[in-house]
Subunit: 415 residues, 4 copies
């Protein structure tokens, strides 16, 4: 059974105040909210949502509701903030789930979203799209030019939707290839998002979280950043700018070259292991820091991951070789090794900029940017605009440019 809740008003009030601060710093969504309130692009539509349920998400949801949408949603497993969910329910939206849901309950919440027969999907990891397709009765294929191209969910038709993540996009392009009859705009590959979020917001958030969780000194400390993609570049830049000594391990020679000219020491993870005070992974790949690296680490080195999946540091292998693991502080474990060395593992290898006490996540303005990509992409889908095709596709260039201009204006900049 999906988790429906009776929320008390104290929770709602607490959320209302937190949201006020955040809302006041999301000017792009504020503009969209005002515009949608007049144009009602989502009138008559139900938006089915599956997205991390935290305060900034609530501002996106409000914005869609202001545009006439009936929003039926649920969060990710384990991260739903109950006061935020309560607040959204108090505004008349249908939100399933609470923080301590079991995985089974979470799946039931997703099913409950699909039961509401959404005509538009705001998806995350392609869970909703896969569900729609699994339920069958999807008719025709097309690009939004006509309603024939939409998927039928036993009556209602899915016009299309958005997908937040690259892994969801990969699923649409591989596992579900050829079976997605409606357009899905992939938010994560946008240039704006890569620069604004992956590079700058993650860079900022990683240094903030490192300081918040460990309380260690950055100037003079030796960091190895594994991966020099958008996130790795940001993490390396922000750490170095705070006085850290930064070295890069990267397996793509073109990016390694870029790192070297950016002035970083470049070597393999194994080659850098004995030099490191701290190792941070940002590759998206499994096991990039594994036994051969563990073997070379100095005593007391700190290991942390900011990639999406908790598999970049091979924690099972580390644990298997450990003699003891002590939780020394929130999100800090000391893993003792048979040879007398110990290793400090942050957040058990999970994305550590969302871990520890009071994680803030990416900056408010960077989420204003990211959610604005969602809002305008969903509007484009709702309007059944020409130019969209069935399946996964990038954010339309004109949307990127519109948002870039508005963000510049919000920073008092112009072309």
């Amino acid at each position: 059974m999906s988790t429906q809740v009776n929320d008390d008003s104290a929770l709602v009030e607490r959320a209302a105040r937190r949201l006020e601060w955040i809302r006041s710093r999301m000017p792009l969504l504020a503009g969209a909210r005002e515009h949608f309130a007049q144009t009602q692009p989502f009138a008559g539509h139900t938006i089915g949502m599956s997205l991390h349920l935290e305060p900034k998400t609530a501002i996106l949801v409000e914005t869609l509701a202001a545009g006439g949408a009936t929003v039926v949603g649920t969060g990710n497993h384990g991260s739903t903030q109950d006061d935020i969910a309560a607040f959204l329910r108090s505004q008349g939206l249908t939100i399933f789930g609470r923080r301590d849901d079991t995985l089974e309950q979470h799946h039931e919440n997703v099913a409950a979203v699909l039961d509401a027969r959404p005509s538009i999907l705001l998806d995350n990891g392609a869970d909703l799209a896969a569900g729609v397709i699994a339920r069958g009765s999807v008719a025709g294929v097309g690009g939004g030019e006509s309603s024939e191209g939409s998927a039928d969910l036993g009556g209602a038709a899915v016009l299309g939707g958005t997908e937040e993540t690259t892994s969801g996009a990969n699923r649409l392009r591989a596992e579900l290839a050829g079976r997605v009859p409606f357009p899905v705009i992939v938010i994560n590959d946008s240039v704006l998002k890569q620069i604004g979020e992956n590079r700058h917001a993650v860079g900022q958030s990683v240094v903030e979280s490192f300081m918040r969780i460990t309380n260690l000194m950055i100037p003079g400390a030796r960091f190895v950043v594994v991966g020099y993609g958008w996130c790795g570049r940001g993490v390396a830049q922000y750490l170095r700018s705070l006085g850290g000594k930064v070295a890069i391990a990267e397996i793509d020679e073109l990016k390694a070259f870029e790192a070297a000219l950016d002035g970083y020491r470049v070597d393999s993870a194994v080659g850098l292991a004995s030099w490191a005070d701290v190792v941070i992974t940002a590759t998206g790949q499994p096991g990039v820091v594994g036994p051969e690296v563990f073997a070379e680490l100095s005593d007391g080195v700190v290991l942390a991951n900011c990639g999406h999946f908790p598999w970049e540091i091979d924690v099972p292998a580390l644990m298997a070789s450990a003699t003891k693991a002590v939780a020394v502080d929130e999100a800090i474990d000391r893993i003792e090794l048979p040879d007398g060395r110990s290793v400090v593992l942050i957040a058990q290898g999970r994305m550590f900029n969302l871990a520890g006490r009071e994680p803030k996540g990416n900056s408010i303005q960077s989420m204003d940017l990211g959610f604005m990509l969602q809002a305008l992409s969903l509007e484009r889908v709702a309007l059944g605009a020409a130019g969209l095709v069935a399946g996964a596709q990038p954010v339309p260039d004109d949307i990127e440019r519109t948002i870039a201009r508005r963000l510049l204006a919000s920073m008092a900049a112009s072309l």
Copy 2:
């Protein structure tokens, strides 16, 4: 009555684990602890302590106790961490006070420390020194060469001590001038501390706290830093290095000149007010951001202070002119002004890098440095070393150099 407490073992256990992490990152104190354990410099001495009671302080206290000291102490008003105090008591130390003490109780705690007749003072704001002198019975004056130079507290004699703060030093040099018969080594004016703590640790801590409390984006945001002393330099440097646009207001033309050549925009606080997104004060002076500045601020500007006293932003004047004040989040208030603008005040103008949920304070290693200055200065006093004179004086140069060498060694650097 001073606050003596029966602590439960859960508190003690929690503290023990937190301290383990911190202790493992304070190598300088670890070295001193080992050395003191052998040389017992404090054998037979009671150290009376008045110092902010947080985890890093506990490591200092342990170190003194290992050197044979009987430590009798209390914290600052309102900041004592109860688990840490409990832990120290469980180790047999006498620690007065708890977080929710009234001001009156706090004064009684200080009195209780004096009642223990300490022979050495670890002081903060000169409270203990003033208390000793007020209690009279201080005999003779001298520089530690003989016990005649010490202050008698009804039997016991004060050999000397340390003072953590510059304001305490000012009190010793003004209000108490000529009346301090024992040497007091002033920690805060040490070059190591100015560079290691005021510049780098405060710089790091301010950017961390700004991000932790506000969750705002730093790159592209416009910061005005008021004051370009040791802290201001650090704050400006760290904000700029994260991509902030930084301008400096400074009334000393030589420092303003330095700021200008360091590449900052330099102007008066009033001249910069309308440009600012965020204003951060770091001057040590009252009212540096007052009504004339408030008058020019843009709507929504954020105000924060990292100076020691909560008076740099003229909060009473701001409140007097406000129509409404709303607490929007922990340590964030929105102050509404009659002309429709609002101002966002962080931590009500108090030192904001120690405010908000889960403040961490300065980095562990920077406190290792600061407390090492304490440990070796107290040892110097305990040994009644030649070279010390009655009254406030800087940390002896050889102590600074010894610590610099050890810190370099701990960073794997050498001369």
Copy 3:
């Protein structure tokens, strides 16, 4: 008539010594030279070359000659360094041209290169390719799979070649589209070149040249960089890192967005004009700084261009409105305007990092990189390798990766 010269041995000796220093810092070409000496990829081939003739070029030419090539070449108009040309002649190569050639003589030099019936072209602005095609007798089309695909120059056949510039590539793709029967590898669009040269080497060279020519102070000075492409990013980064205040004018909103998040002030060129102390153009477009910008400039502002063409600053319009122009120093003119302001024009709007006394151009190692792209691309053409197609095309990915790995090794870095 092409300019053939009898060179004296003093010139040759001077060049030999200069080249020794440069050769010692081009490890990539050194490696290629050794390899080519064994494999002789150019045996039996004549390479026709048209390329800026300065010391680093000579090292490329040596490398090709070591691989068995007969090199017949000429420089750009007006930039040939006579001692370098003399040196190459003394090594048995056929080099036409000298620094003070007229434009007509320069054209004759290019024709003389074509007369030598090269089988491989090392081209610059597509002059040689256009000449070959204009001379007709080009047979067949193909991608190196067979010799039919080559162009016949009255006996010899053009196998293919390289093109150094983007503008040459544009010519091949527009003006000569469909008429180029052999493969031409375009060097300038390589990722390695964009990062290694346009961003980092031009950034370095522009700050060096600004200081060398003007002797002005960078910290605190206000720079407007027009264009935030590869060159603009580098120029902005290097100026800011030296303490300059930098603002960006950019017409592409995505790049303007990037600049804003990189922490720069962003506005239109006109909007920034009155703020600027110095304006530097890097757009590749004509007239980006013209009358509307001139109208807003402060008195004494410095104008410079680092884009390829001397048209980015509208110098004719500036001169037309001037009352007087005074040459105050090498590459520095003061242009007086009727309203009493004056403007300081560097190098008359030409690419100023190659202007003034003793210009050095890009760093030796960055040219080692760029010329290595040439050397391996020419080898690929000479070997008639599969994978090449007729017309302009990017540097093959495996060549980029090979060079990246070697450059990393030369910097003592590894993957």
Copy 4:
């Protein structure tokens, strides 16, 4: 015999144009020139000058002359720019010396300055002060309160003067201690100069000169800076900001500590030698890079010095152990060692930011600052102001502050 010259008008004209550019960028001296023209502080005085004779110096001399001074001067040995000297003579000033003077002629030029019986000295290395004292007939001692305190040079009296360098100041305080009856204001120890010149201007000038002379790539290259004083801090900062990897060797533990917290690798010169691509000395001390360092250097390492004296790199020892020395380019020698390694020596160990073709020296504005300290200090001496004492002394604080304010104003900044 001193070198008096008949200058041709071509030289004078060339200088006049060069000076125009420089004069237009020295706003502080322009202000002083205007003020002095009205107040005539130097009326009736002869200023005897011994100072590096390059274009910026000429603007200082003009300024003094505008204030009524009769200027009689000479340059340093070997650095006089003949066109500048010619220009000054054409303005009616008495300037001795030319670039190719012998050392003997140089001494005669200094003597000729003294023969002119200057009442005020603008000194450099204390040559003039020592000469005055050696000539005897110095009467009385005092601090400018009365003319008794001045030195008599056979009729005329020396009121006092300025000394540009720290080494001159040391001479006044040691060798000439107690024998200098007039006040000498030491320019070099001014805070403005340390920050504005030693740190920022030398930092800028060193990176410019390194690029200009060697044409090497900075990003990714490994620099060891020996000495972390004012110059070393600047050099390290500017190199790192351009992407260089920078390590510091420093024997003062407090400065080494500062360097470590500033994020640099810190070690001994010997410990860093094998890591270095480039070594730059900035200590003011002899032999800081000597045989033990040479023994560890990698093949091809570049050695340069920016300290005042050419003794920081032990060039004689290097040469003694060399098998061959080849001049590969202007200011670049390759020194071959018996074990097959070679070392690249820049400017034979002399201050390399004034070496090579077309050295520019410090930026114009930084010299405007330095010479403004001269101008106002000389005015203070001329006015026989109270507050000056006999012998070497710092620049009066009010002069520093006045200049700081004007420089801020010239950068459009204010307090």
